[in-house]
């Protein structure tokens, strides 16, 4: 788990319009540009936000998924899944 690569993926989606378009049109190609592991790629493909959160991804950046419905993750889906995550604060 690199976490950094996932954070970079989401931040680049916000700040780089071309990368965002790539993430929407060809997510495999976009992921290939980032230092993320196979496990992380699978979690992104699956929209497994609970797993990503539990492995240290910052929720603010993770929720960028819902800004553009990346990997098909809409806000209702995201909300349902993030509430299933284990959270040390609860």
């Amino acid at each position: 788990m690199s976490v950094y690569g996932i954070h970079k993926f989401f931040r680049t989606c916000l700040h780089d319009k071309a990368f965002r378009a790539l993430a929407l049109d060809a997510p495999e190609a976009a992921m290939a540009k980032m230092p993320i592991t196979d496990e992380e790629k699978q979690a992104l493909r699956d929209g497994n936000v609970a797993w990503l959160y539990e492995h240290g991804v910052h929720a603010f950046l993770l929720s960028y998924l819902t800004r553009w419905n990346l990997f098909g993750v809409t806000l209702p889906l995201y909300s349902e899944r993030i509430h299933q995550a284990k959270d040390w604060r609860l």
Binding site: H7, K8, R11, L14, H15, H58, A59, L75, Y78
Partner: protein
């Protein structure tokens, strides 16, 4: 010597500029920010020391400071696609350089940035409070968003050091300190409201902070505001640190006025300055 003439605490909710543009000048947010802007105008300030926290826009995890200060002739924002007007922002470069030097010599490892832009955490307060006055700012970044945060006592001590540094600055500038952020706010995490991207998970903590501030009980508040306690109030609840640094810069008095938005987990406040 320069002097600190007032303190201000406000939220930086990124939807507020577009919301106010849509709802008009009589809506609650327009009224609350308008009241604070009037205080800022009355203070006849020359410069604003603005404490806020970046949201991975100005800085990122390739190089992520707990404290940083912007030292440059000018900056701009917002840099994070917040729906609001874009602004060129003058920076009081000599004062910014002086505060960094004084802070470092006093034991605070304050990172330096000389080419930077600002996200909504700085630009929403700018939009509502300073877009017309256009006072130069000193942007001071405190990490209130990425665990582990600096401690509450550390933020307070930082404000105390900056207060002394301002009072030692060889100029006649009148300085207003602004601290911006929420007391309870979760963005994107499991504490957000169901079906929403964000939420206010601990309104009681937010109200408690306000009570402590109104009573001037900062020693107790600092003891209570551990990293774990703030985290339970949401992943943006560490923005309290911006307020603590601001209040310490003002000398730690009680607020002149403090108006909460309980449902949002934040407040609007004004401090006079203890001499």
């Amino acid at each position: 010597m320069a002097e600190i003439v007032a303190g201000i605490g406000v939220p930086h909710t990124p939807v507020f500029p577009s919301q106010v543009a849509r709802k008009g000048p009589d809506c609650e947010e327009a009224r609350l920010y308008g009241e604070i802007e009037a205080h800022l105008r009355d203070a006849k300030a020359d410069v604003i020391l603005l404490f806020s926290n970046d949201h991975f826009n100005t800085f990122f995890f390739d190089n992520f400071p707990l404290f940083a200060i912007g030292v440059a002739p000018a900056t701009s924002g917002p840099n994070d696609q917040t729906p609001m007007p874009a602004y060129e922002v003058p920076v009081h470069e000599p004062l910014a350089a002086h505060l960094r030097r004084s802070g470092v010599l006093a034991g605070f490892d304050i990172a330096l940035t000389q080419e930077f832009t600002l996200d909504h955490a700085f630009m929403v307060p700018w939009h509502f409070l300073n877009a017309r006055l256009r006072l130069p700012i000193v942007p001071f970044f405190i990490d209130g968003f990425s665990d582990p945060l600096p401690g509450a006592q550390r933020a307070w001590d930082l404000g105390t050091v900056l207060r002394e540094a301002i009072q030692a600055y060889p100029g006649r500038e009148r300085v207003v300190a602004i601290g911006s952020g929420s007391f309870s706010l979760e963005i994107g995490g499991p504490l957000a409201d169901k079906g929403e991207r964000s939420g206010t998970p601990d309104k009681a903590w937010s109200a408690h902070i306000q009570t402590r501030m109104e009573a001037g009980e900062y020693r107790q508040l600092i003891a209570e505001a551990t990293g774990e306690r703030m985290a339970r109030a949401g992943n943006a609840a560490g923005e309290l640190l911006n307020w603590l640094a601001m209040i310490a810069t003002c000398g730690g008095g009680k607020p002149l006025t403090m108006k909460p938005q309980i449902d949002h987990g934040h407040a609007f406040g004004v401090w006079s300055v203890a001499s």
